[in-house]
C-alpha cells in the first residue's frame, strides 16, 4: 500500500510548495493537491515543476469543464511531472469514464488526446476509490490503522498529517508497504536522530 499525503487543506501557496518539496525529499510516495475549479492542474503543475520523485494525485471538480478539457490539462501535467500524475475526479461517472479513456490513449467520440499522457495510462479514481484517514503524530493508533488498510488490500491510503513529514516517512511509509515492518528500528531511529 502506498501513502498519499493530503495537502488539500493547505491554502498558502508557499507552504504547499514547502510541504510538497519535503514529501519529495523524504520519500513519501504521493501527495494530494487541489484548488478552486479550473485551477487544480495549474496548482499541480507548479508542484510538478519543483519536485522530482513524489506522485501527484490531483483532486478535480469533474463537472466544471468538458471532459476533453480535463483530460488535456491532466495530460499536460503528466508531461511536466514526467509520469508522476494521477487524478481524483469528482462528479459524474460518465465524465470520469471519458476522461479515463482519453488518458489511456483511447479515442472518445472520435478524438484522441494530443499530446497523449506521458504514462501509458494515467490512473483516474473516484473519491470513494481511495480511503482517507486522519492521523496524529505519535499516536499509538496510527500503526493499527495503517495495518488495517494495508491488510484490506487497498492500493492507496490518503493521510491527513500535521506532524513532521519525516516522522510520517520514518514510521508509516515502510509499515504501509511491508507486512513485517520492524517498528523497533523506527523507534531506534528516533533515538539516534530525533525529529524536531
Amino acid at each position: 500500500m502506498r501513502l498519499l499525503l493530503d495537502l488539500r487543506e493547505v491554502a498558502n501557496h508557499a507552504e504547499l510548495r514547502r510541504l510538497a518539496s519535503e514529501a519529495d525529499d523524504h520519500g513519501i510516495w504521493g501527495i494530494v493537491v487541489t484548488a478552486a475549479p479550473g485551477a487544480e492542474c495549474t496548482e499541480a503543475a507548479a508542484i510538478a515543476a519543483t519536485t522530482n520523485n513524489v506522485s501527484i494525485l490531483i483532486d478535480i471538480d469533474g463537472d466544471a469543464a468538458h471532459p476533453t478539457t480535463l483530460a488535456e490539462e491532466i495530460a499536460v501535467v503528466d508531461q511536466i511531472s514526467h509520469r508522476r500524475t494521477m487524478a481524483l475526479l469528482r462528479g459524474l461517472a460518465t465524465h470520469r469514464s471519458k476522461v479515463a479513456a482519453l488518458l489511456s490513449g483511447l479515442p472518445v467520440d472520435g478524438l484522441i488526446l494530443a499530446p497523449p499522457p506521458a504514462q501509458a495510462s494515467i490512473p483516474v479514481y473516484a473519491p470513494e476509490d481511495i480511503p482517507a484517514v486522519s492521523l496524529v503524530d505519535g499516536s499509538k493508533g496510527n500503526a493499527v490503522i495503517v495495518d488495517q488498510h494495508r491488510d484490506s488490500n487497498t492500493p492507496f491510503l490518503i493521510i491527513s498529517w500535521t506532524g513532521p513529514i519525516k516522522g510520517l516517512a520514518r514510521h508509516l511509509v515502510g509499515r504501509a508497504s511491508s507486512i513485517d515492518f520492524p517498528q523497533m528500528i523506527a523507534d531506534l531511529a528516533d533515538q539516534i536522530d530525533p525529529i524536531e
Binding site: 485551477a39 495549474t42 519543483t50
Partner: protein, 315 residues
C-alpha cells in the same frame, strides 16, 4: 519597450519530431535561460486535437514555467477563451497571479478551427458571443493583465472598448499593425475605460538576430516553414491578405516580407517604428536546431533588450 519571446507551443512536428516530455522540459530550460538573459517575458500558444500535440492546456504549462523562475513574466499568446469555461480560467489566472507575485499575463483569442469547437461541443458560429461572455467573466473576476489577440480592426476595437491590452499577430505588415493599433486606441478613447494611460499593445514579430546574409536566408526559411503549421491548422486571416490555406506560397512571401531579420541594431531600428509597449520575438519555430534557439535567446537578451530599453526611454 519590453522584449519577450514566443511562441512556445510544445509540439512534436513532422519536421522536428521529439518527445513531449522533452518539449516540456525545454520549456523550463528556456524560461530559465530567458530570465538569466534579462528578457521580459515568454509567451505560450494553444491549439487542440492537432497531430503534433500543440499545447492544449496553457495554464498548467505557464504554472510550471513561473514556478521555475523568479522574475520572468509568462503570458498566453493566446488562450482560446471560447473553448474554455471562463470561470475556471479566472480561478486559474488568479492562482497564477498569486503564486507568481503578478508575473502572469492572460492573453485570449477566439480560435478559428472548427474541429476545436466540435470536440468541446461548442458551435463555432457562436464564438464571438462566447468570447464576449467569457471576457465579461474575466473582467469581473481577475486582476491579471489581460490582452486580446486580434487580427482585424473590429476585434481591436472590441478590445479597446473594454480597456484591454492588444496582442497583435506576427505576420502582419506595418500598415496593418498600425491600423489595428489606431482602431484599438480610438475605441479606448471613446470608452468608459478611457483615462491617462491607454491599455498596453503587444506585437508578435517573426524575428531573428543574424550576422551574415547566409544566416539571414536561413532564418527566413525557418520563418517560412514555421507557417506550414498554420497552413495545416487551416489559418486564414481576414482583412490582411494572408490566407495560409488558399494561397500558401503567396502567404509565405507575405510572412517573409513582414519578418524582422538582421543585426540587433537593424531590428531595433525597425521596431522603433511601432507604437507598442511589448514586442514578442517569435522565435519558437520547429526547424532551428536547439543550439540556434538558445543562441538567439541569449542574443536577444544581451543585444536587443538594451536597445529596446533605449527605445522605451525615447518614447
Amino acid at each position: 519597450m519590453d522584449m519577450g519571446i514566443g511562441l512556445w507551443c510544445l509540439q512534436s512536428t513532422t519536421t522536428s519530431p521529439r518527445s513531449f516530455e522533452q518539449a516540456y522540459r525545454e520549456l523550463i530550460d528556456d524560461a530559465r535561460l530567458a530570465e538569466s538573459n534579462g528578457i521580459h517575458s515568454l509567451w505560450l500558444s494553444e491549439h487542440h486535437a492537432y497531430y503534433d500535440g500543440y499545447c492544449p492546456a496553457l495554464l498548467p504549462a505557464a504554472s510550471a514555467a513561473l514556478a521555475a523562475t523568479n522574475r520572468l513574466q509568462i503570458g498566453t499568446g493566446v488562450l482560446l477563451l471560447p473553448l474554455h469555461e471562463a470561470d475556471r480560467i479566472a480561478n486559474a489566472a488568479n492562482l497564477l497571479d498569486a503564486q507568481s507575485q503578478g508575473r502572469f499575463h492572460l492573453g485570449v483569442g477566439m480560435g478559428y478551427r472548427p474541429i476545436e469547437f466540435a470536440i468541446k461541443d461548442r458551435n463555432i458560429n457562436e464564438r464571438l458571443r462566447l468570447m464576449n461572455s467569457g471576457l465579461d467573466v474575466l473582467q469581473t473576476e481577475i486582476n491579471t493583465p489581460t490582452w486580446v489577440g486580434v487580427s482585424s480592426e473590429k476585434a481591436a476595437q472590441r478590445a479597446g472598448r473594454r480597456g484591454l491590452g492588444l496582442f497583435i499577430s506576427g505576420a502582419f505588415s506595418r500598415d496593418v499593425v498600425n491600423s489595428l493599433i489606431a482602431a484599438h486606441r480610438m475605441a479606448w478613447e471613446h470608452s468608459d475605460f478611457a483615462g491617462e494611460v491607454p491599455p498596453p499593445v503587444g506585437l508578435l514579430r517573426n524575428l531573428w538576430i543574424v550576422d551574415t546574409e547566409a544566416e539571414r536566408r536561413q532564418a527566413l526559411e525557418w520563418v517560412r516553414s514555421s507557417y506550414l503549421v498554420y497552413a495545416g491548422l487551416g489559418w486564414g486571416v481576414d482583412n490582411t491578405g494572408v490566407d495560409f490555406v488558399g494561397e500558401i506560397e503567396a502567404s509565405m512571401d507575405e510572412v517573409e516580407r513582414s519578418a524582422t531579420v538582421g543585426s540587433a541594431e537593424e531590428i531595433a531600428e525597425e521596431l522603433d517604428g511601432y507604437d507598442v509597449d511589448l514586442v514578442v520575438c517569435r522565435i519558437g519555430y520547429d526547424q532551428p536546431p536547439r543550439t540556434a534557439l538558445t543562441e538567439v535567446i541569449e542574443r536577444i537578451g544581451r543585444e536587443l533588450v538594451p536597445l529596446a530599453k533605449e527605445l522605451g526611454g525615447q518614447r
